[in-house]
């Protein structure tokens, strides 16, 4: 069986971690062809060719494919679909934008956020904010799937797949890109970081979020936030962890001033070790914490930062 995997390409660069995790999931299904599409994608294609388990790379470069616009990207994938039994991608916001569109154009269902592969037709996926896991068998001829990256290990490097250049499909011309607002940061990327320190409403202000950032920097960690912290303007939207934010599963997750609503737990409860710091001993976050500290965060966090 043949699998087409849409690589995550940002401004011409391959998002290696997300793509390599999806390769691990896809290898179980058949020979993997990676599609690197973008206004510039050749370098991303070369990088993808080195991922273990990739059989072939297709590079499509065209201005219309820049900025991951859904309509031209979906049109390109649909034009290639005939050769593949599975069309897959890491479950990033870009893929979640594109893949359901691809599925509908092919008249098949999409399987979003699959967390496990049972066989070529059967997949596991979390539902109800991760409070249940459903095993579904697809009856469609072509399977369109996004894989939840936090549950697959990244494939290694050492491959040397052939790279082929292809053209874009006709641009339906339905939308145009205006701008990206991306905060530059030296910290690790949230979904691939080994350690994540997250702050919640308990942190109280944007200024005091510096406490969270200091602890994160001491640990070499990415910074996360609860929805309440983002809604209150303490942290930017791309830091949100949870059902409707990012799903993370680091070695260590430190939740500070976060109560532990199910929608937040949905995004972090598969972390290896969870630490919770909260002044309310009844806070539900303690039910998933390996190590809980009942304390005022304004004392405990600086003390922890110093002690590490």
């Amino acid at each position: 069986m043949a699998v087409l995997l849409l690589a995550e390409v940002n401004n011409g660069e391959l998002a290696l971690d997300a793509t390599a995790k999806a390769v691990t999931a896809a290898r179980a299904l058949g020979d993997v062809t990676v599609l690197a599409a973008g206004a510039s994608a050749a370098a991303a294609g070369e990088a993808a060719a080195k991922i273990d388990g990739v059989a072939k790379v297709l590079v499509a470069e065209d201005a219309s494919l820049g900025h991951r616009m859904a309509e031209p990207t979906a049109a390109l994938i649909v034009s290639l679909a005939g050769d593949y039994s599975h069309i897959v991608a890491p479950a990033t916001t870009d893929a979640k934008n594109v893949m359901p569109r691809v599925a509908a154009l092919l008249d098949v269902m999409v399987i979003s956020d699959a967390s496990g592969v049972v066989d070529a037709d059967t997949f596991e996926r979390p539902i109800y904010a991760g409070n249940a896991v459903q095993t579904v068998k697809s009856l469609d001829t072509t399977k369109v799937i996004t894989f939840r990256t936090s549950t697959f290990d990244a494939a290694g490097e050492g491959g040397s797949a052939a790279v082929e250049t292809i053209g874009a499909a006709d641009n339906p011309g339905l939308s145009e890109w205006v701008e990206d607002k991306v905060a530059a940061s030296d910290r690790p990327e949230l979904t691939s970081a080994g350690v994540v320190v997250s702050g919640g409403r308990g942190v109280g202000s944007e200024e005091d979020f510096a406490l969270i950032e200091k602890l994160a920097d001491k640990l070499g960690a990415a910074v996360g936030a609860s929805r309440a912290a983002v809604d209150s303007g303490y942290a930017p939207n791309d830091w949100q962890v949870g059902q409707t934010g990012k799903v993370v599963a680091p070695e260590l997750y430190v939740a500070v001033g976060i109560s532990g609503a199910i929608q937040h737990l949905a995004g972090m409860k598969d972390s290896k070790i969870i630490v919770a710091i909260n002044k309310d001993e009844e806070a539900p976050i303690f039910q998933v914490a390996d190590f809980g500290l009942v304390a005022d965060l304004f004392e405990a966090v600086p003390a922890l930062t110093d002690a590490l």
């Binding site: 934008n97 359901p100 509908a104 539902i127 409070n131 249940a132 579904v136 791309d238």
Partner: protein, 252 residues
């Protein structure tokens, strides 16, 4: 311009779901159901467009069991003008897949000719995050997903989207499908007089067959299980104890 808003009846977000012991699904009998929180935001946005004279009618649609009437009445009480209920299932445990929902919505769009469809980004039960994109594909319309800002300007809409890297702004041709994220607005509560008024607003009932759509699932549910549970943890007495436990566990 007419705005169409699909609203889904889902388990209330505060309810802790229980997986049925026989693995057949999640227990939805006698649990509190509400409008999908994202759809409340979509309804709110549609009403605000009407209040700003950018829309002249807000039509809400729900596809599912008869009880979805309540969800539609909630939307009418918030300020929507009329509702369409598509009866597509008898059992509250039956859910219609996004592809079939999108096909029914396409037929409704063909009939109603809205200039904008505002849907939720995802439904909090199945978390598929698919219906809006699928509808957009079937109609050949533009899509602006995960919107945290929406500005309609004649035959274009400027949509700011919440994406992994931060925010992306795009301009889409109208008519368009926009799926809404949590930070687009804060939905209003319906007032008691408006709840009373909503009872008199028109609610049309249809069936999936009226639209010639086959709703049989493409994904067969093999089983539904509880997620793995975590081993219980401990409460530490001090920052120092926390640090030594983390060191013992090799976490720092």
């Amino acid at each position: 311009m007419k705005v169409l808003v699909p609203v889904k009846r889902v388990i209330d977000y505060n309810v802790k779901v229980r997986v049925k012991a026989d693995g057949s699904g999640v227990d939805l009998a006698n649990v509190k159901m509400s409008m999908n929180p994202f759809d409340e935001i979509a309804v709110e946005e549609a009403i605000r467009l009407k209040e700003a004279d950018k829309a002249d009618e807000v039509v809400v649609v729900s596809i599912g069991v008869k009880q979805a009437q309540e969800t539609l009445r909630t939307a009418l009480a918030m300020g929507a003008d009329r509702a369409i209920l598509v009866n597509a299932a008898d059992d509250v445990h039956t859910d219609i897949e996004p592809l079939a929902v999108a096909k029914i919505l396409k037929a409704i769009v063909d009939e109603e000719q809205p200039g904008l469809v505002l849907a939720g980004k995802q439904a909090i039960d199945n978390d598929m995050n698919a219906t809006g994109q699928m509808l957009s594909a079937l109609l050949g319309w533009s899509q602006g997903t995960f919107a945290s800002e929406l500005d309609i300007d004649g035959d274009k809409a400027v949509v700011t989207r919440e994406v992994d890297g931060g925010l992306q702004t795009i301009k889409v041709n109208m008519p368009a499908i926009v799926t809404v994220d949590l930070r687009l607005n804060e939905p209003r509560y319906a007032s008691l007089p408006n709840i009373m008024k909503a009872k008199k607003k028109p609610l049309d009932e249809k069936t999936a067959a009226d639209y010639g759509v086959d709703t049989s699932p493409r994904l067969e549910v093999v089983k539904t299980t509880e997620p793995a549970t975590r081993a219980p943890g401990i409460i530490v007495g001090s920052v120092d104890e926390l640090v030594s436990k983390l060191k013992e566990a090799g976490a720092v």
